[in-house]
Structure formats: structure tokens, C-alpha cells
Symmetry: C2
Subunit: 204 residues, 2 copies
């Protein structure tokens, strides 16, 4: 029997391949990091894509391939590879001619968002995107509270700078509430961040 | 001893991992496909990035990961994975606020460019990018002739349509010369496609 979501899409059980991620982060402070939020955003981006609202894709996980086998009569099998550090954010694409670029992260903490969720490379990338007049932001999820915020990259860069100058290593919840924009969780799409972008950049 | 390129960048010998691509395409009609052109474009994009001209990255090769080992005290090793079909073009990024998106392909043929170099998914993606007012094109290299052209996506889509309606399965060299824009090969950057974009979209 096949199950379907309310939107008619078939329910596809998680592929074996997705299991490793869960294992990987089990020992991490943010045990759910990058899982639910990623699924919600993928679903949201599919929604935008199908309705021709925006074209936003998650970049594939960068992998350094070392050894590949070519068995006869079947597909090439990668036998040895390693995860590489991403040099950009995970998501980008186009909306009404504009370049959109963002990173999505979640935390189990409830009173602040640790900046170590971001890599210096990503911060540098965001800074470059802003210089090119791209629209750049982060989507932050407080998983315990089930709250999701959009925070524009120029704010994040300020907090990063504060940390580099010896200040706190996180952004307080209060700061995110004040400077960011809460995204109400929906069913279709689940995380309607384009609505916030319309508001912030007068694009609707 | 370390070698450096004229621009001061250290020369890094090709990683073992890059070997597989060469092996992979050896039996193909276009034995050099995706190699030299990719290197030239990566170098060009680094040039743009360092000088804050544009931020364009090649997307990582999409891989379906099936099995990962976590040896003690060392990095996770991917032990089984497969190449996936890309659903978008390979390159995208931002230039002066605009979304740029392109695919790069080469052929050994000298009188036409076979359309089978593109996948239906990519064609669909390009069509969507144009609907979102993104800047979308292909970079075509005739490797035997050492000639590189930029052809805007709307032209490619016309040729694709012609094929679907029973017409020829390639774009003639003459058509590319007429509708495309030859990119002279340089040293720094090697394939200065932004110059053509400036001209076509009045962005300089």
C-alpha cells in the first residue's frame, strides 16, 4: 500500500542512504541538525519549483572521490570517497531575476544560536554575495521550540564580527527575534521564506 | 619544491580522485569532454572570485551515498556510493545582483554540436531559469578547433524544440557562429565569459 501526503505526493520512506547522516550527528550537540529542517526546505523548494514561484536547489554534498569501480553491465560504484568541507552555503537559486543564497541550521538550544554552526568559508561566501548585491540570509530553527527565523546575512556578519572581536560565540534568541523574521510553519509550503523575501525586498 | 602559476597560485598536481573521470569518458565519443573546459572554467571562476568580479561556483557532482564507515580516530569513509543524474546545470552564482546559470560542454566534432550533450532535466531547468528572469546560457567548446562560444539558453531551447519536432539532433557550427558569441581564449582569465554577459545585458 502506498501512502500519500495531503498534497497528493506519494510518501517515500527514507532511503537507506539517508541513514548515515542521522548516525553521523548522533554524538553532536545538535542531534537533529540538518535533518528535519533540510527535509522541510526541500519540500518547500519543490513546492516553489512546481508552481514556478522560484528555482532554489540544495547543492549536493561535496565529496572527494578516490576510487571508482566499473563493473561490467552495471553502474559505476564509488568504493572510496570522503566528505569535503563546503566552500559556499547549501542553497541558492533565482527568484524574479534576483540571486538568492542561504544556509539553514538548527539548534536544540532555546536561548541562543551558536555561531559554530557556520564555517568561516560560508561567512566569507555570504559577505561576497552581499558585495555582489545578491540576496543572502540564514534560516535558523530552534528545534525544541519549533520556531524558525529568517535572518539577513548582514546581521549574521555583525554577530560573527562581534565574536571575532572577543564577544559572545552565539546570537541570543532576543537578538534573533528583534532582527530576524519569524516564519510561521505551514503545510504547503512548510517554510514559506519567499513571503519574507517579498516583504524585505519589495518583490511581491 | 613548489611550482606557482604566473598569478602566484601554487601549482597543485591533480588529485588521484580526478583520474576516474578521464577513465570514465575514454570510451566516449568526446574523449576530452568535461575535462579541459571544466579546468579552464574553474580557473576563470577563481579569477572572478578573487577579484570580486562575480561569484560563480561549479556544483559538486551529485552522489547517492549508500554506505559510510566511521573508523575510530579518522574521517568518515564513504564505502559505497553511486553517481546521480544532475537535475540542474553545473554552474551558477551571482553577478551584479543578477542570477547567472550555465552549463559547459565540449565536442570533438568540428561542424556541429550534438544536443545529446544535454539532458532533458537540464533543458527544463534552463527554461525555468529564463521564466524567473535569470541569465542562462551554455558555454560550448569545439575542442579540436580550440573555439569556445557562449550561446544564450533561449537559442538552445529553440534547437532542442527543433529536435523534438523531428529536426536535426545537433546545432550546426554555422548556427552557433551566427547566434552565439565567440569567447577569445586568454591567460587570465582563460574564458572571460563575463565580458560577453556585460555586452549582452548592458551590465558593465
Amino acid at each position: 500500500m502506498n501512502f500519500h501526503y495531503p498534497n497528493g505526493k506519494p510518501y517515500i520512506p527514507k532511503a537507506k542512504s539517508e541513514g548515515f547522516k542521522k548516525d553521523k550527528v548522533k554524538n553532536s550537540t545538535y542531534s537533529n541538525r540538518g535533518m528535519t529542517l533540510e527535509e522541510d526546505l526541500n519540500e518547500t523548494n519543490s513546492y516553489y519549483l512546481e508552481r514556478q514561484i522560484a528555482i532554489i536547489h540544495k547543492k549536493p554534498t561535496p565529496v572527494q572521490i578516490v576510487q571508482v569501480d566499473y563493473p561490467k553491465r552495471s553502474a559505476a560504484v564509488i568504493k572510496e570517497a570522503y566528505f569535503k568541507q563546503a566552500s559556499t552555503t547549501d542553497y541558492n537559486g533565482v527568484y524574479k531575476g534576483k540571486y538568492l543564497d542561504f544556509e539553514a541550521k538548527e539548534t536544540k538550544f532555546t536561548s541562543s544560536f551558536p555561531l559554530k554552526n557556520f564555517h568561516p568559508h560560508q561567512i566569507q561566501h555570504m559577505s561576497g554575495v552581499l558585495r555582489q548585491d545578491g540576496i543572502c540570509f540564514v534560516i535558523l530553527r530552534f528545534s525544541t521550540l519549533e520556531e524558525v527565523y529568517l535572518l539577513q546575512a548582514h546581521h549574521l556578519l555583525e554577530f560573527w564580527k562581534r565574536m571575532e572581536e572577543g564577544g559572545r560565540k552565539s546570537v541570543t534568541k532576543g537578538e534573533i527575534e528583534k532582527l530576524g523574521h519569524r516564519i510561521p510553519l505551514g503545510l504547503q509550503p512548510r517554510i514559506d521564506y519567499i513571503k519574507v523575501i517579498n516583504y524585505l525586498y519589495n518583490l511581491s
